[in-house]
């Protein structure tokens, strides 16, 4: 049964999967935070998704409306672009390199975290969601 993308149910399932599938070791014991800012959502309201990891452990995972908490990295793009990434139809690297997503934050650190971000996206893509 698909759940609605970015809904509380979707959030709950993503969080459970992230905790189960991405162990601190798989997350390279990373300490960082990232917020995705969704523009042009179907209902017109801006949304965000926020992750905070400490030593590879997911400490905070939020999905909401309006401004997200402060994060080390801030990625801004259209809802449609993020939805394609979450469905595994578009790579996040390509989305960044084609300018569909805009990243704010230290690029050198971002490079080190690129493979981890891919792992996160792969987990998100497994959730049966309705976009």
């Amino acid at each position: 049964m698909p759940v609605k993308y970015l809904s509380p149910e979707w959030k709950e399932e993503v969080e459970a999967r992230l905790k189960k599938e991405l162990t601190p070791e798989r997350m390279n014991y990373v300490t960082s935070s990232m917020s995705n800012i969704y523009l042009n959502c179907p209902d017109g309201k801006p949304r965000f998704m926020f992750f905070r990891y400490e030593n590879g452990e997911l400490k905070e995972f939020l999905v909401g409306e309006g401004e997200p908490p402060e994060a080390e990295f801030r990625i801004t793009g259209d809802y449609a672009t993020f939805a394609q990434i979450s469905q595994g139809k578009l790579g996040s690297q390509l989305a960044l390199m084609s300018g569909k997503l805009k990243l704010k934050g230290n690029m050198v650190k971002a490079l080190k975290l690129a493979s981890i971000a891919d792992r996160l996206n792969k987990v998100l893509a497994k959730v049966d969601a309705e976009y």
């Binding site: 390199m97 084609s98 997503l101 704010k104 050198v108 490079l111």
Partner: protein, 405 residues
């Protein structure tokens, strides 16, 4: 970062404060440096990729360089990785967006006065802001005012501090080692069948073994010329070629070493046997003018006065036709290798012929002697420090033209 007990220590935070004091006097909120000389002088790191240093009115600067090199630059620099950022071809991460966002969002200077660096140079890697960059920054920061402000760094970097001088002294010691290796390869007939590129390589290997970082100049590393190539009219740029040395010709070995962004630049000239009396006459003329030049350099003299006096000596000796009437080029940390630091002369962005040298300035004593019709020439280049009543010659290699059997 080195400490002030280190002979090569340079007070980089102090340099930034000096720039900030000048910014305050000139009402600048931000200094956007893009020239290679500015990057070396403020960051203590070699920045071969397009780079920028953004200096706020207070606090530490932030540098921006191509992401593939940012970690290395941060490691070499006195700045930490939070102050050396990488740009990349990604949304929000290109150099214009990153720097404009930094100025607007972090420095809150989107409406401020931004000093930047523009001008013209005969030196390709100068690094002035390009027209495209300028227009893109103007578009990204529409409420800011842009003011050409490179004179701030030019003036401040003119007089060298002790750490800089010591880096240059060490770089000259390295070129001396390179010259020794070349000399040993040439003697006892060793020059036969050697090519210019091999000579460059022999020197490079010796200098690198002794600690040189690279053969810094953008004119092709070590400059080696043999035979007719030594006699190019005005020819002060001779990247090594595959030409083989021949008996009976002249050889010019102009070596470059680098030590912590301090530069070695010194030349030794040779005559390969058999040597004619006419070749010796040219060689003696050259040595006469080198010695006269080194004796004359001191605080208070100007480039045009030097030229007049040296050309008068050459005229009297009957060899003024072979001499380029200029006896210096500027020098500083990597990227500062052509004109003398400040330029307030009649032709914009060229050395002011009436610049009066002050104690603590460094230049390259540079002499080009060339007789194209006889396919012979000699070059002298050596870093010197100007003092009140003399100059300090940094390389210790021979001034004389060496004859090789």
């Amino acid at each position: 970062m080195s400490t002030n007990h280190d002979p090569y220590y340079i007070d980089f935070p102090g340099r930034i404060k000096m720039i900030q004091q000048e910014m305050e006097k000139e009402g600048l909120d931000v200094y956007l440096g893009s020239r290679l000389r500015t990057l070396s002088w403020t960051m203590d790191a070699f920045c071969p990729w397009r780079s920028y240093v953004v200096i706020p009115r207070e606090g530490l600067p932030v540098a921006f360089t191509f992401v593939i090199d940012a970690a290395r630059v941060a490691d070499d620099s006195w700045l930490d990785e939070d102050h050396v950022r990488g740009y990349a071809p990604m949304g929000g991460q290109d150099q214009i967006t990153q720097i404009a966002d930094f100025i607007k969002d972090e420095l809150k200077c989107g409406k401020g006065r931004i000093g930047y660096e523009t001008g013209i140079s005969n030196y390709l890697p100068e690094g002035n802001l390009t027209q495209y960059e300028y227009e893109a920054f103007r578009a990204a920061l529409p409420e800011a005012t842009f003011i050409n402000a490179h004179h701030i760094v030019d003036r401040l970097s003119l007089i060298k501090d002790e750490g800089t001088m010591n880096r240059f002294r060490e770089a000259s010691r390295l070129t001396d080692i390179g010259h020794r290796a070349v000399y040993e390869a040439l003697i006892n007939g060793g020059f036969k069948n050697l090519t210019e590129t091999e000579i460059s390589g022999i020197a490079t290997y010796a200098m690198r073994k002794a600690g040189s970082e690279w053969e810094w100049t953008f004119t092709g590393g070590n400059e080696i010329a043999s035979g007719y190539r030594t006699g190019y009219a005005g020819g002060a740029c001779t990247p090594a070629t595959r030409r083989k040395l021949q008996p009976g010709e002249s050889l010019m070995v102009d070596l470059h070493a680098a030590f912590k962004l301090g530069l070695g630049d010194s030349t030794v000239n040779y005559l390969l046997a058999p040597v004619t009396e006419r070749q010796r006459w040219h060689a003696n003329n050259y040595v006469t003018i080198v010695k006269a030049c080194l004796k004359k350099y001191r605080a208070g003299i100007t480039p045009s006065e030097m030229a007049s006096e040296m050309m008068a000596i050459a005229e009297e000796g009957g060899f003024s036709d072979y001499l380029v009437p200029g006896f210096e080029h500027g020098i500083g940390m990597v990227g500062d290798e052509w004109r003398i630091g400040s330029h307030e002369g009649p032709i914009p962005y060229w050395t002011d012929p009436n610049h009066r040298y002050q104690a603590g300035e460094m230049i390259i004593c540079a002499i080009q002697y060339a007789c194209p019709e006889e396919q012979i020439g000699f070059r002298y280049e050596a870093p010197i420090i100007i003092w009140e009543n003399e100059c300090e010659l940094l390389p210790k290699c021979p001034l004389e033209v060496l004859e090789i059997e």
